[in-house]
Amino acid sequence: MMYLLESLRIALRGLSANKLRSALTMLGIIIGVAAVITLLSVGQGVQTLVTSSLESIGTNLLFVFPGNIQSMGAGARFTTAAYLTMRDADAIRSEVPNITAVAPSLQGTVDVEYGKTTIRTTLIGATPEYGPVRNYQPADGTFLTPEHQATGARVAVLGWRLASKLFPPEVYPIGQTIKINRIPFRVIGVLKEKGGGSFGSQDDVVMVPLSVAQQRLYPNRRSPAGEPLISVIDVQVDSQKHMDTVAASITDVLRQLHRLKPEDDNDFTVISQADLINIFGQITGVLTLFLGAIAGISLLVGGIGIMNIMLVSVTERTREIGIRKAVGAKRRDILLQFLIEALVLSLIGGAFGIMLGIAGALAVDRLSADLTTVITPQAILLATGFSAAVGLFFGIYPASRAARLNPIEALRYE
């Protein structure tokens, strides 16, 4: 303990004797640690954002997609064509128990035009159920109604952000006529802002009745039998505990409808919101790790800077080492002195880096409207531990070189 305190005092004295050099050496660690903390907290923020966006879609949702997501990567062959039609949606609605709503929809990308403004955005052909299922509520006007769907009315509901981009402030959107892919539509509603950020483009969408989307906008999206296609079927389950059984019965119903043999893979995918959150969590987790690894490289470079300076310092102070040995310093004492110097450099650098990293994370938070960066204690712990490890690792070689010096030669060193 005594030795440690003394070594610490000696190390601090040594470092303060060369303030500029010590500061520059620390800078490497400071930048590295700050980068680790900022990037990890941004990654964490993205993860939180994605999760909350997915949660804001609605509750107790299952999504049915055409094609088999799991076997797609493995070059799967589909025994039947992978598509979903209204017949699938109707079958689920009539045959699967414990569901509260089924909302088939068709997605595409369209040009929306008003006056001289044209915006390319996402179109959703939706049924009236889509609103409540996905938590879309009109801020102004109304959502799509069963009549619109039945009569094929050319009406549109706009996400609030799209509306604000499309119309000048003095124009009241409801009742205006816009053109979607050059076909005129009447605006009947503007949606409320979706909670939980704007992941995807939930506030930039334009929605029209599914029947209109299928017949007027995408007349060519048809199955071989000529039925209009749909992109996804949202199924709302009455309670969380029925999610698995409902998913299983949807699978049964669709397999039967698609006439799949027992040995065939599914030609559709039933996935729950929780699964989606998991999948995106994995993706953003990898992203965070990747960002952290890049930041880690700069920390490594900082560590090499420490080693470099420590080697210079050992050479420069050869005579000092000789003097210390002559008056009775053991190898361990010299080793400890230089190791502690390296550690102090990296830990003080780490402390400043943590502050800078937190400041960086807060700055990102300020600058971006949607992203809330999350500074986790783990990130700080990781950065601290890593900088200590860097100090130890890159300090040990110069320190042991100092400790091994021959006192006679060290004393003679000019």
């Binding site: 030795y3 040995k325 008056v327 053991k330």
Partner: protein, 252 residues
């Protein structure tokens, strides 16, 4: 005046030291034997290349003999490892070098405390002993000066205080006056003489300066790695420090 007693402090028996320079073996010491008793003040002399620096390094436990035995206070030092040698240097040996070898950017006090740090002493005891040692060499008023703020003679006094502070068995002084003007050199020799006379500290000068050697009561001459002559004698001169001289009624 005779502080010497019969206790044999240093017993060097047939010590050989051979340096290896690549393929060539260079013998620096070729069988040196000598004894030094407690309380002696002596000089080791010799031209450069005579092996006197090598002998000092071995006496100071900075180096190990290739062959032969070296007993320091009855302990066979030739058998010890690095750490044990460091402890011996710390407890039993004080070094004074020609170029002072003080730590730069460090006060006189901190320089003198250095050996006590490695001896594991506490802060307060260290401070007390370091101040006492600095007072013993007449630098009680300069303890917070850095080496660059001190004259050569004062720096050498700090070095002597550092050598003294652990109460070593022996002080080895390698050309202690080599970097000093004549007056400061005499003052430094006077300090050694007083320490030897009053405290009974054993002092070995390693020097080629006959004036310094003349102030000791024994001169060992080395030549080509062997002891050429080793004779006790009367010291030609006794330098007194001003205070001491004043007390005795002399003027310097």
């Amino acid at each position: 005046m005779e502080a010497r007693d019969d206790h044999v402090l240093i017993d060097v028996r047939n010590v050989v030291k051979i340096y290896r320079m690549g393929e060539v073996e260079v013998p620096a010491l070729r069988g040196v034997s000598l004894q030094i008793h407690r309380g002696e003040l002596l000089s080791i002399m010799g031209p450069s290349g005579s092996g006197k620096s090598t002998l000092m390094n071995i006496l100071g436990c900075l180096d190990q003999p290739t062959a032969g035995e070296y007993y320091l206070d009855g302990v066979n030092v030739g058998q010890l490892d690095d750490n044990a040698l460091a402890v011996i240097r710390n407890r039993r040996i004080g070094f004074v070098f020609q170029n002072f070898n003080l730590l730069p950017r460090t006060t006189a006090l901190q320089n003198v405390e250095l050996p006590l740090i490695y001896a594991g002493l506490g802060l307060r005891e260290r401070r007390e002993r370091a101040i006492a040692a600095l007072e013993a060499v007449g630098l009680g008023d300069r303890i917070h000066h850095r080496p660059t703020e001190l004259s050569g003679g004062q720096q050498q006094r700090v070095a002597i205080a550092r050598a003294l502070v652990t109460h070593p068995s022996i002080i080895l002084a390698d050309e202690p006056t080599g970097n000093l003007d004549t007056k400061s050199g005499k003052e430094i020799v006077a300090i050694f003489q007083r320490l030897n006379r009053q405290e009974g500290i054993t002092v070995v000068f390693v020097t080629h300066d006959p004036d310094v050697a003349a102030c000791t009561r024994r001169i060992i001459r080395l030549r080509d790695g062997l002891v050429e002559s080793d004779e006790p004698r009367e010291a030609d001169c006794v330098y007194l420090e001003p205070e001491e001289a004043g007390a005795l009624g002399f003027s310097t």
